[in-house]
């Protein structure tokens, strides 16, 4: 479990990016953190893996205060994929990149080989294994960064803006991947602006604005609330917008995606849907 108690974070230049944040994320949960640019999302998740230490308050991972352990120890437990992949890619080839953390953590050679192969296939980048990460497209680099973290199988998986640079099919792959990992018991924490992606994943949402948490709850409760969303510079999913415009026809106002929409429309007169 990740537990954050009344945390403040002040950057060296004096800017207070977190202003009293408390939250709990249970083991095995799937959570997204959303909010406007500068809300403090990246700052918050960097506290989870000990990259940053709170200026005030406590962050605990599985009962251990992040103050009391090294980043290296935490890194093994809490895998972190940066918002900007260039912050984490530095090896000469994609394959080495994905193997790097595994080597550092002292895994055996044959295990490393297996894990690297698995991760490269999972992220659809096996064809680039000999290429330099820096010659890849933006979306491909992002997937290399993700593969390098998945490879060492951390209990907690933190993804800062994983859908950046991904086309719809890659996003679909990613969605199935995180849902599957979550089903297998991994705690998944995703920072994202991608409202449509969240509408499809339906995780618990933690909504941040100006260094504070302004709302929390299941996607079905948070995403239909226009006023809450606009406070955090978010825009309601398209399908939800559409249904709220025709709620007078007796349709529900918390429909999140096209599949739910289909179900809801089945009952509407004039729609003879198979």
């Amino acid at each position: 479990m990740i537990k954050v108690e009344n945390v403040h974070y002040v950057y060296p230049n004096g800017f207070e990016a977190l202003r009293g944040v408390s939250l709990e994320i249970d083991k095995g949960e799937f959570v997204t953190i959303m909010g406007e640019n500068g809300a403090g999302k990246t700052t918050l998740v960097k506290l989870f893996n000990g990259l940053l230490k709170p200026s005030k308050g406590i962050v605990m991972v599985d009962g251990i205060r992040t103050f009391d352990v090294s980043v290296a120890t935490l890194a093994r437990k809490v895998g972190f994929v940066f918002q900007n992949p260039d912050h984490q890619l530095f090896c000469e080839t994609v394959e080495e990149e994905v193997a790097f953390a595994l080597r550092n953590m002292g895994f055996k050679k044959d295990i490393i080989e297996k894990r690297v192969k698995w991760a490269l296939n999972l992220l659809d980048i096996a064809k680039y294994k000999g290429a330099s990460p820096f010659t890849l497209s933006g979306g491909e680099r992002k997937r290399v960064a993700l593969a390098s973290v998945l490879a060492f199988d951390p209990d907690y998986l933190i993804l800062d803006e994983p859908t950046i640079g991904q086309d719809y099919s890659q996003k679909e792959r990613l969605r199935h991947l995180v849902l599957q990992l979550n089903k297998q018991g991994k705690t998944v924490i995703i920072v994202t602006h991608d409202v449509e992606f969240v509408a499809e994943c339906k995780p618990r949402i933690i909504l941040m604005s100006k260094g504070k948490i302004v709302a929390q709850g299941p996607a079905k409760e948070v995403l239909p609330k226009a006023d809450l969303l606009s406070q955090a510079s978010l825009i309601m999913p398209q399908i939800t917008q559409l249904f709220q415009m025709i709620s007078d026809l007796g349709l529900p106002s918390n429909v999140l995606d096209e599949y739910e929409a289909w179900e809801a429309l089945k009952g509407l007169r004039g729609m003879r849907l198979a």
Partner: protein, 285 residues
């Protein structure tokens, strides 16, 4: 006359490497607002690099065919000359920001244009204001959040008010309200100053209301080119996994389910009207 002209363009990053662009021909008129999209890795960024001369002048490689922008043949003009007519917003904002303050970053290109000091100051204020970053004028770019950095990168290009502006996934780090705001600003510059805009974007649900043409690429070639509604309703765009807006997806399902309607709606309000029409048609027998 076309403002951007690409004729039989093929490109590979190195001798012996595969072709990343394959015989692309494309003409864009002055004042068009074109959305360039396609699967990750299909060559969008590579094509954009040909518009401002990064290809071939910086990346080298092997280039065949011809590209000209605002009357300048890209292969014959160095990057700094191209920069006076083509503004370029990079996919990764950090590749664009290098100064110690936001103000310096936005002013940099303007100084290179040789504009007078007070004009520069005015433009910097204007550009920072439209991206909502005035209060960060004296902040250090490396101390900003990802989205804030991207806003500065956009401001520094808008400030130049170039004839052609190329934006490579410029909203990837932005929150939706800000992304929408950027599209609206681009639309305004497009209407008022007749800026030609080439936008690479996956978030079609936000952008499709502002653009007037979609160019869809796949594996280094142009697959479809036309007006947004017709492109988005074609099967290829679904098969290629393009970010077709959710409303279009829903109506595709409805059509497959035997529900008749004339045009594909692109936005939630068009979708709502379409459903009302269906219900009304039924009520009136």
């Amino acid at each position: 006359m076309s403002h951007v002209k690409v004729k039989h363009l093929s490109y590979s990053y190195g001798e012996g490497e595969g072709k990343v662009l394959k015989d692309i021909s494309l003409e864009i008129d002055k004042g068009e607002f074109v959305l360039l999209t396609g699967p990750s890795g299909c060559g969008k960024t590579t094509l954009c690099r040909c518009f401002n001369g990064l290809i071939p002048h910086f990346y080298g490689g092997k280039m065949d065919g011809e590209v000209s922008v605002a009357g300048l043949r890209v292969s014959e003009h160095p990057i700094h000359e191209m920069a006076t007519v083509v503004g370029f917003v990079f996919q990764n904002p950090e590749n664009q920001l290098f100064a110690l303050t936001v103000e310096r970053d936005v002013a940099f290109g303007l100084e290179n244009l040789g504009l007078p000091k007070d004009e520069i100051s005015k433009r910097v204020t204007w550009a920072l204001k439209i991206v909502g970053m005035e209060e960060f004028r004296f902040a250090a770019p490396f101390e900003l959040s990802g989205g804030q950095q991207q806003r500065v990168a956009i401001a520094s290009v808008l400030a130049m008010q170039p004839e052609v502006i190329v934006l490579d996934e410029p909203t990837s780090f932005l929150d939706p309200a800000t992304a929408l705001n950027i599209f609206q600003i681009l639309k305004r510059l497009n209407d008022e100053l007749h800026m030609t805009i080439i936008l690479v974007e996956h978030r079609l649900e936000l952008a499709s209301a502002y653009i007037n043409r979609i160019v869809l690429m796949n594996e280094g070639s142009i697959l479809l080119d036309g007006d947004p509604r017709s492109i988005l309703s074609q099967e290829e765009s679904r098969l290629l996994g393009i970010g077709v807006p959710k409303v279009v997806r829903l109506f595709r399902m409805l059509r497959a389910g035997g529900i008749p309607f004339e045009h594909y709606p692109l936005t939630p309000s068009e979708g709502a009207m379409a459903i009302r029409r269906l219900v009304k048609g039924y009520d009136q027998g």
